[in-house]
């Protein structure tokens, strides 16, 4: 059997002399969705940052296609879409300018594609409004519009549902599920339980591991 796309082997993470988790194993195959759950401060965000290569683990390693992550930086960068808690949206730039730059970092998108993505997240008519005038939920939608553009297979999303209204949550759940069904992979943290789950859904509860 071929090695999983993304894999963590006996991963430990320590922050400020506090052990968040240790000897954590997980693997992610195409088509799977992993929801990381757990109480506040249990290391959900840290785990996501480890998987995205933003942080180095205290012990253990993250592997991409069976090889250590630090040898695979370019490979990871090509395949990863990371939206952190702070999503990289500049308040002084308009929604379109923000998206155009974030796309250019990975693969440039046309103006039409960006407008379509903004329309898909319900921001038609807000394309040229500076983002600091948008509400928190609308700003989150600008960040999430990246998921509707030509996107790489692995999505790592930290609290993507924050500040979204009920309709936005349902729409995003459906979109994530469709991405997994199409062979993509999603790792996300959220506190609410997903109603729409793809076939490859599984959950990792960091709170229960510690107990």
């Amino acid at each position: 059997m071929s090695s999983p796309f993304l894999e963590a082997v006996s991963l430990s993470c320590e922050r400020d002399w506090r052990l968040l988790f240790e000897k954590l194993d997980l693997s992610l195959l195409p088509g799977q969705m992993l929801q990381v759950a757990g109480p506040n401060g249990s290391g959900k965000t840290s785990l996501l940052r480890l998987l995205a290569g933003l942080m180095q683990p205290t012990a253990g390693e993250v592997r991409l296609s069976g090889r250590p992550l630090r040898e695979q930086r370019a490979e990871l960068a090509r395949n990863l879409l990371w939206i952190g808690h702070a999503a990289g949206i500049k308040g002084l730039l308009t929604a379109e300018e923000n998206l155009a730059w974030l796309c250019a970092l990975h693969r440039p998108a046309s103006r039409e594609a960006i407008w379509q993505a903004l329309a898909a997240v319900g921001l038609r008519g807000f394309e040229d409004v500076p983002c600091h005038t948008l509400s928190a939920g609308q700003q989150r939608r600008v960040a999430l519009a990246r998921l509707y553009l030509e996107a790489p297979p692995l999505w790592i999303l930290d609290e993507p549902f924050t500040a979204l209204d009920r309709h936005g949550v349902a729409q995003l759940e459906a979109h994530l599920s469709a991405h997994c069904t199409g062979g993509g992979m999603v790792v996300l943290t959220t506190h609410h339980s997903l109603t729409e789950r793809p076939a490859g859904y599984h959950e990792l509860d960091l709170g229960q591991r510690a107990a």
């Binding site: 995205a52 960068a77 952190g84 702070a86 500049k90 300018e97 250019a104």
Partner: protein, 223 residues
């Protein structure tokens, strides 16, 4: 790859233009510090003229330092830096574009303002080209070296003072060469030697500091 460089430069320029107050602050600071000296020392032109090389350079150095504290802060806080780190482009290239844009809007403006202030200090017009050229070569070094400190202190809540302590000692060679060039010009000596040394420092910092800045940012983001 160079496309991303140009795009980032444009984006930074756009951001800076939408926050004009932040751009003006270092310039106003530079002008006021220099304007204070004739008031404090007295209008005796001989004395002012002899201390003016050091004066212009110290003021320029502090103005650059003042503008650098927030260089990466907003990018750090709104998650832009994370996006840069996970992108397939080399981080060193991205930070070079960022610092270059910052220099064009703050450092270059300072260079253009300097001759006016030089005249105010009683510098003879014949020394103004040397003043311009030395600042033109020296301020990019100040921006790039300062960006290394800014990258290392970006995660700290109050990094401003630490930044000054880290970076000011590194500014000494630039200060000596820059004010030395002006001093030489003031005494009617050739300033080419000083300027060539400054140019070599510029070349060195443009090629090497982006890697140090990128390493500093990777550490700050990984904390």
């Amino acid at each position: 790859m160079s496309n991303v460089f140009a795009l980032l430069f444009r984006r930074e320029a756009r951001l800076l233009c939408r926050r004009p107050a932040e751009l003006a602050n270092p310039l106003v600071f530079f002008a006021i510090v220099i304007a204070l000296f004739p008031l404090a020392v007295g209008p005796e032109s001989q004395l002012l003229q002899s201390i003016s090389p050091g004066l212009v350079w110290v003021a320029a150095l502090l103005a650059v330092l003042l503008s650098l504290d927030g260089l990466f802060r907003s990018d750090f806080e709104d998650g832009s830096l994370e996006q840069w780190v996970v992108s397939p482009h080399p981080l060193a290239l991205l930070v070079l574009a960022k610092v270059l844009a910052h220099w064009v809007f703050s450092g270059l403006a300072l260079v253009l303002l300097a001759p006016l202030l030089g005249l105010m200090l009683g510098l003879p017009a014949s020394t103004l080209p040397v003043l311009l050229l030395s600042l033109l070569l020296g301020t990019p070094v100040l921006s790039l070296l300062g960006a290394v400190g800014a990258a290392l202190t970006v995660g700290l809540k109050r990094g401003g003072l630490l930044l000054a302590l880290l970076i000011l000692p590194l500014y000494i060679p630039v200060l000596i060469l820059g004010s030395g060039a002006l001093q030489a010009a003031l005494q009617g000596l050739p300033a080419a030697g000083h300027l060539l040394w400054l140019a070599s420092l510029t070349a060195l910092s443009v090629t090497l500091t982006p890697f140090a800045i990128a390493a500093g940012l990777t550490i700050s983001v990984g904390e």
